[in-house]
Symmetry: C2
Subunit: 131 residues, 2 copies
């Protein structure tokens, strides 16, 4: 699913899983990382990565960061994306986060409308630098 | 410094440090959290919080997130902000992150120019939701 996307196609290597397995082990050992998948009929049809980030600002509040939201092409339009994001919001709240945040590529206009419908506000600019 | 800012003034409680001490202990015990301060003549004049986030996308790459960049009013215009961000970029690279990212409130126009001068691209929208 990471590669089945106009942006992801350029940056994933589905034929070589070794780096993904190493990364999974690291995620699995970190209590602040929550990698969830949605299954339907035994197939993985959605993913979401939630990170809980402790911090000092806002009276020592933790915030939650959503990354890697992906819905399989076969499962689009079924409300699965909404379900994944609502799970993440509920989990962030359960872990006493005061804020949940994500960035969305400026070209993903449909995604922007989707996040706004779910109650997010596009209050920030997201700056990135490749290393 | 968190409170000495048009946005921070509304959300910090410098008269009650207990929640900040609890949060600091949590940060201090997490190997992926790097809270740095800049000192000048024995005084803290700048802060930055760098989080390393393991992930599956981009071939299992880690990314780095910069939060809580603050420069004391007395130290503005001295290049300290640049020095803090360049430290964070170098540290992210040292930890094999492929990307460093941050969000900046849409109202902080001077900050946007600052990050662009340092090589960041405003390629994303930053969505937030208070919980």
């Amino acid at each position: 699913m990471l590669a089945d996307d106009p942006l992801g196609a350029r940056r994933e290597t589905p034929h070589d899983l070794a780096p993904y397995r190493t990364a999974f082990a690291r995620l699995d050992g970190d209590v602040n990382q929550h990698l969830v998948v949605a299954e339907r009929d035994g197939r993985t049809v959605g993913t979401l990565h939630l990170t809980v980030i402790p911090g000092l600002s806002r009276r020592g509040a933790a915030r939650a960061l959503i990354e890697a939201v992906r819905v399989h092409a076969d499962a689009r339009g079924t409300g699965l994306g909404t379900h994944l994001i609502q799970w993440a919001i509920a989990e962030a709240r359960r872990q006493d986060c005061v804020l949940v945040q994500l960035t969305s590529d400026a070209t993903r206009v449909d995604a922007h409308r989707f996040y706004e419908r779910l109650g997010f506000e596009a209050s920030h600019l997201g700056f990135k630098m490749s290393l």
